[in-house]
Amino acid sequence: MAINKYIAERIAKGFSIHLFLILFTLTCLFPLFWMVRSALMSNATVFTDKSLIPKVINFGNFAEAWVEGNFGIYFFNSLLYTTSVVIGIVLIASLAAYAFSRLHFPGRNFFFYMFVAAMMIPLPGSFVPLYRLMIVLGLINTRIGYILCMINVGLSMSILLLKTFFDKLPPDLEDAARIDGCGRLGIWWHVALPLARPAIAVIVIFNSLIVWNEYILAALLLNDKSLMPLQRGLMVFQGAHSVDYPLLMAGLTIAAIPIILIYLAMQKHIVKGLSSGAIVG
């Protein structure tokens, strides 16, 4: 009898835990489901029909958003900005991190701690002088200006992560390469970068998230519709067609799907990055 009571208690406990978790799973997923559902409706029915699966499914919104809502251009821009910023960050940050970890020059620690300090000091409103600077440099409303700004945003975190990774790496392989006649640059490219692949994966995924989702610099620096990334385009679209919800939801879906797919493909690295971030912080 005592055992039965124990088992019953355990089943009840397991059941309530699962209930709790499933409730939150639904809370997480439902708004996304509602977004896709609304994107599949027409403007005539979206305001009145509240059924979970719409009676008439209409894929036309995606095509319309893509072409007439300019989301095709925005999507291409986001893709361009994300890939070029991420590639730039990986190259520049790994060069710097390698220098901070392995190469000697005066002021090495000073420069490294400068990057670390930038992570610790919050600077809200730094976009005001940055905006001004971009005007002076003539980089406002240009792709390259936005890309350079975004490279700067991700630089500190990536250098810190890569430097801690390089510090833990045994120098034997690099020594072997040096004996084989490899120069500094060759060692960085042929030995250090391939070895740092796990750390680079973390950097790629986190910086992709940051760039793809960035809004404020895109809003301040880019005024041309042909240069805007998705997040900025969404706000412009919302401002111009405030009542066309199916089209807006189609745009949101276009903006959300790629990042969810990248996340699902690389979610292992996110957990790893966050746990290492918790240790660093």
Binding site: I17, H18, L21, F24, A99, F105, L252, I259, A278
Partner: protein
């Protein structure tokens, strides 16, 4: 030349080494350090951001800021959002992490799903929730899903204009912010929980500790370092929230949803007062740095105790 040669060689070596870090240092100097200095300098000027005419006004911007009720109100709003994020969001994250930190089925699935809201942008999240909270009517029926459900479940008196009503707008933003943010805390707390040695649990069980005792006497003390990191990240992240505000309610609907960064933004693009916007940025930055220093001091004391 012969005497100088080793020295020259060394110098060349340093230069080559330094060139590895040069691109990073250049970008960082132009796009971080220069604006950092400029924001302090500009905060002493009255300037519209367009004409070259800048008037040095000493501490006038800061003096005006001290009197600016809307500014301090906006800081209060950010503090309110932070308070909700610290309590509601982090307690929830901890509860979910505890529930996942055991041998249960679908553990991986939960872990993946709970981190989906954090990977979405604040624009996407804000617009989706704005659509759900939408208050308009069509043919006498609520358009927004929340109001529709409230009517359907027999609570029509609760129907509200959620995002326009000064009483509820800020709370709605805070809750959506928590919805988007709890995944971060969840993942970090879960990673922390998984580093605790299982033998500690068994030892406590053998000694006859109840689940509650196990939680307060073993889990909480072991988790203090991770909890402190999550708390400080929550504070710094929530105080600076603003894109969510822009995408949920926009600007210019009265001042009941203003947060510091939206104030900076409207001083800059709305009234064209760049100097004043910089003074706001400096003021708020100093407040945040002070909060995080105070918190670090406090957490060192807690770790020692």
């Amino acid at each position: 030349m012969n005497i100088k040669s080793p020295c020259w060689f060394r110098f060349q070596d340093y230069l080559k080494n330094f060139s590895f870090a040069l691109p990073a240092i250049l970008i960082f100097s132009v796009f971080y350090i220069f604006p950092f200095i400029e924001i302090f300098r500009l905060s002493f000027y009255e300037w519209n951001g367009i004409t070259p005419a800048m008037r040095f006004v000493d501490f006038q911007n800061f003096a005006e800021l001290m009197q600016d009720e809307i500014w301090w109100q906006s800081i209060g709003h950010a503090a309110y959002i932070t308070f909700i994020a610290l309590t509601f969001q982090n307690v929830l994250a901890f509860a979910l992490a505890l529930a996942c930190d055991r041998e249960i089925r679908m553990k991986r699935f939960y872990r993946i799903v709970f981190f989906i809201p954090p990977v979405l942008s604040e624009i996407v999240v804000g617009i989706i929730w704005q659509w759900i909270l939408y208050a308009g009517l069509q043919d006498g029926q609520s358009i927004g899903l929340l109001n529709y459900w409230l009517v359907k479940s027999g609570l029509p008196h609760l129907v509200n204009d959620w995002l326009s009503d000064p009483q509820t707008a800020l709370t709605c933003i805070a809750i959506v912010h928590s919805w988007k943010g709890f995944g971060w805390g969840f993942i970090m707390l879960l990673a922390g929980l998984q580093t605790i040695d299982r033998q500690l649990y068994e030892a406590a069980r053998v000694d006859g500790a109840s689940s509650w005792k196990l939680f307060t006497q073993v889990i909480i003390p072991m988790m203090v370092p991770v909890i402190l990191v999550v708390v400080i990240l929550t504070i710094l992240g929530s105080m600076q929230v603003f894109v969510l505000v822009l995408s949920m309610v926009g600007q210019g609907l009265g001042y009941h949803t203003e947060v510091p960064v939206t104030r900076i933004l409207s001083a800059m693009t709305g009234t064209n007062r760049f100097g004043y916007a910089c003074a706001m940025g400096v003021n708020f930055g100093v407040i945040l740095v002070m909060v995080s220093i105070a918190f670090r001091w406090l957490s060192n004391r807690m770790k020692q105790a």
